[in-house]
């Protein structure tokens, strides 16, 4: 009976984990679509932003080529034309210098969509890492399905307890068995698990309440 119950709890935990993983996968797909859109918008904006500079460079290139062809026959040109060519040459050199400065100073185009996507993608990445840790944590708990603290470990896992925290509890539990005996250690573990679950649940309720208050505020603002 006990083993059946433990197995059932293990199955529930796996189902909870599966739902979380699927949700994350769905979120990742949505982020991917938004990223594609953002890249497309970014490219279009960059093209538009660079267009005048490209035109200026093309124009400069044309005038430089014309000057080069005249410079090839420089000695055959009349004196007044020579003076004009030299003046054009020095003005083109100045223009080249200023074009270089402008191109070097070209700021990266600000794309708010891309900034938002990077932020969301980083958040998703950290969620994936957390999910991976939770998977490890769950598999460790389920591998000791017969342990005395199985139910408490499952409770702590469900409320979001970390691997390090479960390790700390385990370490102290073994110390207490040596000092106070098993019943005392189990009572301590139970007390810690309940108060920890209460604290984590309270934190989640507080967060939900904050979100609720924000939604209420937005709703009232729209009704006005």
């Amino acid at each position: 009976m006990n083993l059946i119950l433990r197995t059932a709890i293990a199955k529930i935990c796996i189902a909870v984990f599966y739902v979380r993983a699927r949700t994350l996968l769905f979120n990742a797909k949505v982020i991917m679509q938004f990223s594609k859109l953002s890249v497309w918008i970014g490219r279009a904006r960059a093209k538009r932003h660079i267009k005048p500079y490209r035109e200026a460079v093309d124009d400069f290139q044309k005038r430089s080529n014309a000057l080069l062809s005249e410079l090839k026959n420089f000695n055959e040109l009349p004196e007044n034309r020579r003076q004009q060519v030299l003046a054009t040459r020095s003005s083109l050199m100045e223009e080249a210098q200023s074009l270089k400065t402008i191109i070097a100073k070209l700021a990266p185009i600000y794309n708010p969509g891309a900034t938002a996507i990077v932020y969301v993608a980083n958040r998703a990445m950290s969620k994936v890492q957390r999910l991976e840790q939770r998977y490890k944590s769950l598999s460790r708990i389920l591998s000791t399905v017969n342990s005395a603290n199985f139910y408490w470990d499952v409770l702590l896992w469900l409320v979001g307890g970390s691997e390090a925290m479960l390790g700390d509890l385990n370490e102290e539990y073994l110390l207490r068995i040596a000092n106070d005996g098993e019943p005392g250690a189990r009572a301590w573990y139970c007390d810690q698990a309940i108060s920890t679950a209460r604290d984590y649940l309270w934190k989640k309720i507080e967060r939900l309440a904050a979100v609720g208050a924000l939604i209420d505020l937005i709703d009232r603002w729209f009704k006005k």
Partner: protein, 110 residues
């Protein structure tokens, strides 16, 4: 220093415990240090919630140690205080000590 940078009473205790423990400041050691010195019963969950919050604020950093068999193969998470955490702790302690000048120990006559 913004409003978010002020420390709560429990946060001050946690930071002081981390300072005392030095390189050996991991969850259960911090909890034990607080319990032994103040006699205050603390759940490991409350401690981790506080530590996570302070890590988000940039007051502490954590790094994962090696897994040990007595912890069921789970690794320890060691905490250390950042300069911002030290600054916030100094400010909080300074405020309390300024307010307590001439009053401690609090006598019945006051």
């Amino acid at each position: 220093m913004g409003k978010r940078d002020h420390l709560g009473e429990f946060e001050v205790l946690v930071l002081l415990a981390i300072l005392r423990l030095g390189a050996d400041a991991y969850g259960m050691a911090v909890r034990r240090a607080i319990e032994e010195r103040t006699g205050r019963k603390t759940s490991i969950g409350a401690l981790y919630i506080t530590l996570d919050r302070m890590e988000e604020k940039g007051f502490v950093t954590s790094e994962i140690g090696e897994a040990t068999p007595e912890r069921g193969g789970r690794a320890k998470r060691f905490f250390s205080i950042n300069p911002a955490g030290r600054q916030a702790l100094n400010k909080s302690l300074e405020e309390v000590s300024k307010m307590a000048v001439g009053l401690f120990p609090v006598s019945e006559a006051l």
